[in-house]
Amino acid sequence: MTPMLTVEDLRVRFPTRTGVIEAVRGVSFTLGRERLGIVGESGSGKSQTGRAIMGLTPPHAQITAKSLDFDGIDLLKAPSKLRRSLRGNRIAMILQDPKYSLNPVMSIGRQIVETLRTHEKVSAHQARDQAIAMLEAVQIRDAARVFDLYPHEVSGGMGQRAMIAMMLIAGPELLIADEPTSALDVTVQLEVLGILDRLVADRGMGLIFISHDLRLVSSFCDRVIVMYAGRIVEEIAATDLAHAKHPYTQGLLDCMPAIGSSRHPLPVLDRKPEWAL
């Protein structure tokens, strides 16, 4: 299998008044048509990794990489016009909270149509039909009605599904999902993940699932990358997670309270400075 995405020695630096902060420090991985999870706690650089691939890093940051290659295109050297056309068309991203990533003054349907028509030449009528079909694909009942609603008129779960519909309408090959369900209730969360799972499988997309929730990621993805302080500390098949070698991964798994296991006090993570080296 030739990888769709190759990331080698990716670094993201933020110059600040007090010095340079390195958010991502030499991350390397490859991705095929599979589900890859990136797990880490706040400040681990997991989101910045996703954003760097997507090209959404703030302009004052410096990105370097030996290679950041998507299907033969060097993303770092690609002209911004090419990157824009990749974005949404071949690479799409779902963010945490639909409240902030949907335009509040535009109806959901129009936003989906807009996304579609910036990437494909279709008539307005066709676009509408496709958008409604996409809304149905994310299991929104009564899609024609939801099409005309505004983001504030729908629930969080519905908003996130609309977001997924919008991101998938142009048929991207790579989907980056940054905490796609963290703002949702647990039962809704699973529903949304189920939809995402099926679409990714049906369309043969590559998926990068970024989350702080090791348990969720490992149950959803094929392979998991664990990040700590801007580096990858462990890369492991999701099924082997129970046999994780790195103490950080073990600690993360261990410190979650679970139903039916009585451990008082909970084991806490003893952060070793050498992990961050």
């Binding site: 809704v188 699973l190 309270p257």
Partner: protein, 257 residues
Amino acid sequence: MTAAVSIDDLVVDYDGFLALDRVSIEIASGESFGLVGESGSGKSTLLRAIAGLAPVSAGTITVNGQTLAARYRDKAFFRQVQMVFQDPYGSLHPRQTVDRLLLEPLAIHGIDNAEPRILRALDEVGLGASFRFRYSHQLSGGQRQRIAIARALIIEPSILLLDEPTSALDASVQAEVLNLLEQVRRDRQLTFLMVSHDLGVVTHMCDRLAVMKSGRVVERLSSGDLASGKVEQTYTQELMVASKGFVRRVIAPAPAG
């Protein structure tokens, strides 16, 4: 067993929307009681109603034998009941140092010996005196939550209301804060009323719990029952399944809603 908090047929009405619909709960003194539910279930509203921050339109709340008014709470009440909020980034005043934050409750209640009390409070939550003069933006999320706990404990309440105290924290930090909460409960024989959406956290922390949905209590059970699967309501079961992570293809695509 004496009841520390007893809530009877409580109704909270936000302009026609019933955030709480005849909820009754009894919490024994020294007990740790959990409220589980999803957003909009009314679990946080219940805490806010006890604290006098929500409009109670019917029902009674009794704390340590005293029935409370619908809205008004006197100073004596706040010496018995304190609260820790969900968002450690929003619950500390952005322009006050830790010292000022901890001094405030002492000043309000006219408690003397502020200096040693502040140092002891910082010590108790595992932070130490070096944190005393920092502003909240100089602290991490876990440290902020420790300060919030220290602030709640400094006037020595007997009941602590915990509104999702760890849901904004990283998993490893969550473990530390949960351990801290357990320890202070043991040391001070506190009564906990803890709200969470995470069944794992609630069963870890609480002896008994109530599952809430749409402003009502749908099931009351003990943590032991939950662990051994003695669950009656399907909603509780759904929550249990959900808390174990994603299961491929086992959950049939539910009809959209």
